[in-house]
Subunit: 331 residues, 2 copies
Amino acid sequence: MSTYRRIVLASRPSAEPSPDNFRLETVDTPELQEGEILVRNEYLSLDPYMRGRMSEEKSYAAPQPLDQTMIGGTAGEVIASKNAKFAVGDKVVGALGWAETGVSDGVALRKVDIARVPLSAYLGVAGMPGMTAWYGLNQIMQPKAGETVAVSAASGAVGSVVGQLAKLKGCRVVGIAGGKEKCAYVVDELGFDACVDYKAGNLVADLAAATPNGIDAVFENVGGAGFDAALARMNAFGRIAVCGLIAGYNGEAVAVHNFSSVLTNRLTIRGFIVSEHLEFWAEGLRELAALVAGGQLKYRETIAQDLASAPDAFIGLLKGKNFGKQLVKLT
Amino acid sequence: MSTYRRIVLASRPSAEPSPDNFRLETVDTPELQEGEILVRNEYLSLDPYMRGRMSEEKSYAAPQPLDQTMIGGTAGEVIASKNAKFAVGDKVVGALGWAETGVSDGVALRKVDIARVPLSAYLGVAGMPGMTAWYGLNQIMQPKAGETVAVSAASGAVGSVVGQLAKLKGCRVVGIAGGKEKCAYVVDELGFDACVDYKAGNLVADLAAATPNGIDAVFENVGGAGFDAALARMNAFGRIAVCGLIAGYNGEAVAVHNFSSVLTNRLTIRGFIVSEHLEFWAEGLRELAALVAGGQLKYRETIAQDLASAPDAFIGLLKGKNFGKQLVKLT
């Protein structure tokens, strides 16, 4: 019988996750049942939401169970199929977790065309992170041409797409990112109008300088000081999509100090989880893939090699060590 | 030439307003021009928003100018008219400020019927505060029967209407108010299901006990600890109307600590100013007046006597010393 390697959640972190919260193990490949598909995962997606699942606190999703394969998006190839909809050799995207091999019943598995969009992009710009950007921008922020849009974690898998889509709509787009290199990428490669380096120590003044006409819409991935700085710059009737608050994911107290802006500027703030809005995915993914294929949507990937590197890569992601979409290459 | 008394803003407060921020003075009654109406104000409305206008900080409205009549809603009687739409003896509601007499061009003056609704009620439950409640509840919170609604400053002019309207919709309604007497009124007179006394010192636990099924919609008048306690009790897809953040009106730092609830519960938060939604006023005011006339909407007033008492009454309002709608009786 064949085996494969997987990573399970071994324990829950009390603050920052550490490598010993994870355990690499080898398990038997199960026998395929009627209707099932066996997939060899080529790429594993690492995303900030996984940090939330590692904790037991009440949140929008059930916690990741201990001793089970860590959840996660995957892209790979069908290597055996007892499902008429999938054939050996098909490239597929699913959520088979931190594992070299996965079994799917086909319901949450999606065949993808890699002729013009690389397989890995379906885990990033043309996948869940891209859809997250698309939904937040189009359904919550709804910016008009000429408005100013601010995006935190601007060089990341989600933020980079938010900003580029906003540029395509004719907005002034200002990113917030950590470090000169990321900010240079955001402006020079992605085409944002400006990028504020929060590590430079002048966040409030730098954001004010970069947003001379204030801010009309925010895509918030981080929370903390950057969010407060954005709140202080909001124009009347501004919209804020709250996608992530990574600054507080390890349980630190991250207070919001400029909340009064909600009243004085009559802001609308909405938190969202893109997986709850599946009715938009077909439209959004089609649009994103077309933009990638046409070269209008750029992206960058940080690719760790081998399943065993996933915990360190994930911990690095939470600290902003990645540059663009964080993936693990499994094959 | 006749004269009248008025109160002007003499100086801006640095923290809590004090009586010396105001100045009582006697001025000449102007000669009426064509199209103008002279009104003897019978009631002056005191409202928390006035605190914001006393400051120079950027807000949704221009600051109250120094040495000018303090802004404010008024109800009174036409005593002279050069405007065909208004006759001597008409009862009218307007915004003629902290003054015994006012001149209007008629544009922002509204004739009211006092046959079934007392004149003073048009400054409260059947006026701007009532409309504030109506708009926040119907346009932002949109509660369904069976949902739990929380209201801060629950015994106040706005909060008391929010809760009663929500009860009419079949919601479970929980108020937050300061002191046993106000809480008893909220439950016994207004018909709320429960009221948490924030002065009792167990705000978080008491609110949790009063909302066994969590909170689906919040009307926020205060901010601070009560708002954080409500955020911690929110259910998925909860809606929060932010009408006031009186806890921070004097410039205290009032941080929001439980903002992560916006993400984990996919909340929508919207700040609003009812005067920006005039398209709803005719419908709302008609509904409110009918409910008052029918005895379905109860209210309480705290009435200070004489214009000279307005500053102290206003300062008391900001400290929660009033009980229900704060008015000044001028005649």
